[in-house]
């Protein structure tokens, strides 16, 4: 398994150039925080990692799609699968690699965000504005990191969709575009689904709504209460349902991958 991970890492680096994503994730928050984000919006911009958050999600979806579809388009799928390893091991190695890449990008964008914030503070520490700067650039680390964690948990669903499409259609274009649409449009889509929910209440347990709520879950008691009143169940039930959705999708993607003659 370690060998498989090493091979995936080599492909991530040399073939898919994950470092380009890392550089973007690092540089983007420095640029946006120091040059574009007004003082009043600084704190909320940290939440989106100075714009890197969406880049990382898209990056992860692209890397997920590529790691499967390109083996088919390059014709490398045959030596990849014709080995002593089971297809489950090969499948897992790819998923683990993408998740590691995700965290790598998060680390880079966190560093970029922290540096952007420091530079912004240094730029605006004149005697009169210093008190405002300190106020608007303050950061609640605990809720900030919790939000990052939740957006990762929410991304697992998007990743599963891309994984499924990649394995069904073997086309990275289809998988990537669907993934990107899903990543920017889940909130829009859940607005559409909410009108359907009005027609039939149990539809609120649909994967899109569940995923959307999970991604924004903040852990506050207010949030818990609104979940309770909307779903009629505790937050933990929501998480169990979400986990089940995600697991089923990964299992389905694996089932397709495992049965494919190449």
């Amino acid at each position: 398994m370690f060998t498989l991970l090493k091979q995936e890492a080599m492909k991530a680096w040399k073939q898919n150039r994950v470092y380009i994503w890392a550089i973007i994730a690092f540089v983007l928050p420095i640029i946006t925080l120091t040059s574009f984000v007004p003082m009043a919006s600084q704190a909320s911009a940290y939440g989106s990692l100075g714009g890197s958050s969406i880049i990382i999600t898209i990056g992860m979806l692209v890397l997920t799609a590529l790691s499967f579809t390109q083996e088919f388009t390059f014709g490398t799928i045959r030596p990849l699968l014709s080995r002593q390893y089971s297809r489950l091991q090969i499948f897992l190695a790819k998923i683990i690699t993408v998740i590691v890449e995700y965290f790598l990008l998060i680390v880079f964008s966190l560093a970029g965000t922290a540096i952007g914030r420091l530079i912004y503070r240094a730029m605006h520490d004149g005697s009169t504005e210093k008190v405002y700067t300190t106020y608007y650039t303050s950061l609640d680390w605990k809720s900030f990191l919790f939000a990052l964690l939740m957006s990762f948990v929410g991304s697992l669903f998007l990743m599963a969709i891309v994984l499924l499409v990649s394995n069904i259609a073997k086309s990275s274009a289809a998988a990537i575009s669907l993934g990107i649409v899903m990543s920017v449009a889940t909130s829009i889509l859940s607005a559409v689904t909410s009108s359907l929910i009005q027609l039939w209440a149990p539809l609120k347990w649909n994967p899109l709504t569940v995923q959307n709520v999970v991604s924004y879950y903040s852990g506050t008691s207010d949030f818990n209460k609104s979940i309770q009143s909307y779903f009629g169940a505790g937050a933990w039930v929501l998480f169990v349902v979400y986990g089940a959705y995600v697991l089923v999708m990964y299992a389905l993607a694996y089932w397709i991958f495992n049965r494919r003659s190449v």
Binding site: Q15, R78, L81, Q84, R87, R259
Partner: protein
């Protein structure tokens, strides 16, 4: 016990039967040529052997283990190049070697293998594989199939796009590995090449194995021919046919099958009687191509 055995393997794609009761075996150290027309099922058979494709009936045994679809420990000892080389466009040749050697218990010496397959040197060292020419990619594909010191190597059209020098080098490489006990299953439409390389032949047509035997035996079955070159080959052909002989026009000489009372002497006599000047005359075995075509045409008339 053979290294590889196929027993009554069948495969359907929908209603189309791509492999029909295919059986043959490969012994250690033998080079087996798998030949047949386009769509005969060569690549399909190779995909089943490498565990990449499910098959409906029969069994495939490799190194005393059954090859099943999608799970096989024994595949560690098999190398393959099926249809197109497995290349990551942004890797260099050496990256490929490093990558494919990673999961091997022991692997070939990378520098040496790159040298023999001709993918060493400045041109390959720094350049990414996407900039390689067809033949360069093909040579890299062969190196990939060999890197993990396999016991058995499946090569589908390995000589595709190779220049004469590379063909020569690769042939020598395959031969030397076979002498060390490595077995090969090689498909190719370059029959002259295969005739020189393969020890055994398996002839497959429309998913069925028509023949499986030693190359020398298969060739010996073919017609022996008198090949005669004269001052007027067209006239030579006409008179040979008029004499009731099985004659045909070759590239620059008339080919007359040796059968019944036909001998080189008779051909020579006929030519001189007709006033033709004989510039060259030889007796020789027909080649793989001629005999393959005749076997296939017999199969077609039977069907």
């Amino acid at each position: 016990m053979s290294l590889l055995e196929l027993h009554h393997v069948s495969k359907n794609f929908g209603s189309y039967q791509a492999l029909d009761n295919v059986s043959f075996s490969v012994e250690p150290g033998r080079i087996v040529g798998l030949i047949g027309p386009n769509g005969a099922g060569k690549s399909t058979a190779m995909r089943a052997i490498t565990g990449l494709m499910s098959y409906s009936d029969g069994e495939i045994i490799f190194d005393d283990e059954r090859i099943r679809f999608a799970k096989n420990k024994s595949l560690a000892k098999m190398g393959n190049l099926i249809e197109y080389p497995a290349i990551y466009p942004n890797f260099t040749a050496r990256d490929h070697m490093t990558y494919y050697a990673m999961d091997a218990k022991d692997h070939a010496d990378i520098d040496e293998l790159m040298k023999i397959t001709g993918i060493d040197g400045e041109k390959f060292g720094k350049r990414k594989a996407k900039k390689f020419s067809l033949g360069m990619k093909q040579r890299l594909g062969i190196a990939i199939a060999l890197i993990r010191n396999p016991k058995f190597v499946v090569l589908d059209e390995p000589m595709n796009g190779l220049d004469p020098q590379s063909v020569h080098d690769i042939r020598a490489l395959i031969r030397s590995l076979a002498d060390k006990g490595v077995a090969f299953l090689i498909s190719s439409h370059l029959l002259d090449e295969l005739q020189r390389l393969a020890d055994d032949v398996v002839i497959i047509n429309k998913g069925k194995v028509l023949r499986r035997e030693k190359m020398v035996d298969f060739l010996a079955e073919g017609k022996t021919q008198v090949k005669v070159q004269t001052s007027d080959n067209d006239k030579m052909l006409a008179v040979a046919k008029a004499a009731g002989w099985d004659a045909s026009m070759g590239d620059d000489r008339v080919l007359i099958a040796v059968q019944g009372d036909v001998t080189a002497q008779k051909v020579l006599k006929l030519a001189t009687d007709e006033g033709l000047e004989v510039t060259d005359i030889q007796t020789g075995q027909g080649n793989l191509e001629d005999h393959l075509l005749s076997v296939l045409s017999t199969d077609a008339t039977r069907a």
